[in-house]
Symmetry: C2
């Protein structure tokens, strides 16, 4: 049924299955986390992530390049996201000293409040949709497997 | 530094780490797979996935609802994607008999050719960015872990 390939490009169906399992697992988990955040807090998952990373950072601020790397967005994707979050008053933009073109995103008070309201929902989701599926040993193993894919 | 929570909403830093590891791993792998497909074949990853699922399906066609479920897109997201792929001539839309509002997406010849060209690139990426990081036993275990998150 599918397309035929040269020998050197073959991978086994079992090997291809890991990518499809990964895609589906990520899709399912992120879709459920996002649905809860949007329903209860009108907060898309990527917005939640930006607020959470800022709240954990020194001075509640991060350079745009650091933030882009943390939330796995392209610079242009992050820039659009940040513009919308500034418009809603959740974060602010402040210039970087001695770097005319650089700036930080910094958590604003409404953003801090919104994050505080939403964090329980997010953590409950991570528990329900991920952590509850594993015992402690499995969870450590799964995390270690995932971290092998980070570079 | 971070926000404080009520006791019942706490999850441990180790537990939260699995979600962040998952997010970063998925981001890294999909970003690398997409970069190769776009550079060598001008084919975004989601387009590749649509072509691959159609090529494997009976008659090279799928109902829109089946396809949306397979590629983890919302109906509106898939609809926009399919419109662009039809415009490029890679797939076609055909009506479902006895269902005035339903239709199939079906693989068109230029789409079949484009998929054939791109499949080696995709498989090499899955090997390099995922499979090569594990031995056979680990790969089976990792796949099984991922499949626990599917529902």
């Amino acid at each position: 049924m599918g397309i035929m390939f040269g020998f050197d490009e073959r991978i086994s169906p079992e090997q291809l299955r890991v990518w499809r399992a990964f895609e589906r697992a990520y899709g399912r988990v992120s879709e459920q986390l996002e649905a809860d955040l949007v329903e209860l807090h009108r907060l898309p998952l990527a917005w939640y992530e930006v607020l959470a990373r800022l709240s954990e950072a020194e001075g509640h601020k991060l350079r745009m390049s650091q933030l882009a790397d943390m939330v796995m967005l392209s610079p242009s994707g992050l820039s659009r996201l940040v513009d919308r979050m500034i418009k809603e008053g959740l974060i602010r933009r402040i210039p970087v000293e001695k770097d005319a073109r650089g700036f930080y995103a910094i958590l604003a008070e409404p953003g801090r409040k919104r994050l505080e309201e939403a964090t329980g929902t997010h953590h409950r989701g991570v528990l329900d949709y991920m952590i509850s599926r594993f015992n402690d040993e499995e969870l450590a193993q799964f995390t270690a497997f995932l971290e092998r894919l980070h570079d």
